[in-house]
């Protein structure tokens, strides 16, 4: 597909920065189930661990989904970075 046919031209070329809020995290584990390359949970209390603060492009969709469904709203995704 050429860029002209894309709904969001250039979006894929943008960098993504992910920030997690450990204090808010409720340990639901959705982020780990959806994007295991980017998120993990600490063994001792289930709190989120950010493995990749600047994930590669092929993981952006999964990271967006993880942020959207986090029940504690503990994942912030910055795509203008």
């Amino acid at each position: 597909m050429t860029p002209d046919h894309r709904g969001s031209i250039g979006k894929e070329d943008m960098d993504m920065k992910v920030v997690v809020d450990e204090a808010r995290c409720c340990g639901a584990g959705q982020c780990v189930l959806i994007a295991p390359e980017v998120f993990d949970q600490r063994d001792e209390d289930g709190v989120v661990v950010l493995l990749e603060p600047e994930p590669a492009e092929d993981r952006h969709d999964a990271v967006r989904e993880a942020a959207a469904v986090c029940p504690a709203a503990a994942i912030q995704v910055d795509e203008d970075a």
Binding site: C26, A28, Q30, P36, Q41, G46
Partner: protein, 403 residues
Amino acid sequence: MSTDEQVLSYPIPNDAALDPPAEWAELRATCPVAHVTLPSGDRATLLTRYEDVKQVLADPRFTRQLNAPDAARLSADGGGVFSGEMATIIPDSGEEHQHWRRLVGRWFTAKRMNAMRPAMIQIAEDLVDDMVKRGAPGDLRASLGFPLPVYVICDMLGVPAADRDRFSYWSDTLLNLTRYGKAETEAAQGEFFQYMSDLVTAKRAEPGDDLLSELITAGGPENGGLSDIQILVTGMALLVAGHETTANMIGKMVSMLLADRSRWERLLADPSLIRTAVEESLRFDANSGFGLPRYLNAETEVSGTILPRGTTVVCSMAAANRDETAFENAGEMDLTRSPNPHLSFGSGAHSCLGQALARTELQVVLEVLLRRLPTLEPAVPVEGLERVEGLAVGGLREVPVRW
């Protein structure tokens, strides 16, 4: 409808096993903060919009102090899972709650659930084998939906699964808001309490490799652990929560997927949709039970309406999950929906502790059924499915299937 002219009975009566009551759409559109009458006769305020339910469940001003003197009683005699003495032993809010949550939450991480997955698959396979041996038609609820989550939570807690009939009764008396009288409920809870108390004593003498043993050996409050009574109540709460909710959801999920053959066939053709199909089943469940009650100990505003101190609020996550302003084609079951930020597990600091467990169990059941019984079909029409009445957690009495 004006809040003062008509007061709805809640739960809203609904004969349809899988479809939502017509009132939900009307409430969301015209009366998002509605006065309702509970089975006890007490008044409460019902929320049905996605944004309201999501915010209120995550807002610490809406407390879980349902035992406050002026909080609405949910059932006629004031018993039940939300308002008993038990509800006060586990810290309700703030840092103490977070401490409890993290001590217990480590047992429910995604990684732990993935590690438990092969054992869950084996349990599901064995239960399907037994159902097939007994011959069609079978009851999917009794054959698979109930036993699977019970075996799994009993194993995690280190509780003998052989006692499951007793748990089933005890948990029913806690979760059922209308069926049992006060004396019967209290007697059952006394027995349940004694059972767990004996179990904790036995584990203290001889710890095993399970959640309760680990909470015991971690030490008391002086060592950053839990007190004996907190361990005991945590055990009771996990047994009840891990028992009835997922068990009912398995039956409802399979019924919804079989109610339209194209859904089942889509999953047979593409099992990679199992994860999103489970999430959509959770969102689409219109028979999820009572919802979550909250109590206000200070005046607060919701959707432009002032709620006075002392108000009991009921959040209907199931109604919120059908909100068209939050989900495109909310009335359609879309097995590919993503993201799917449904509220079936609540939201915020108190959102379901066992949600990764529930998700994994639901995914395992679906994966095993699609693989082992691809010809699975309902043995009664949808109109023949009956709801379990009076439970804080909604379910179907039987899920008759053949294959």
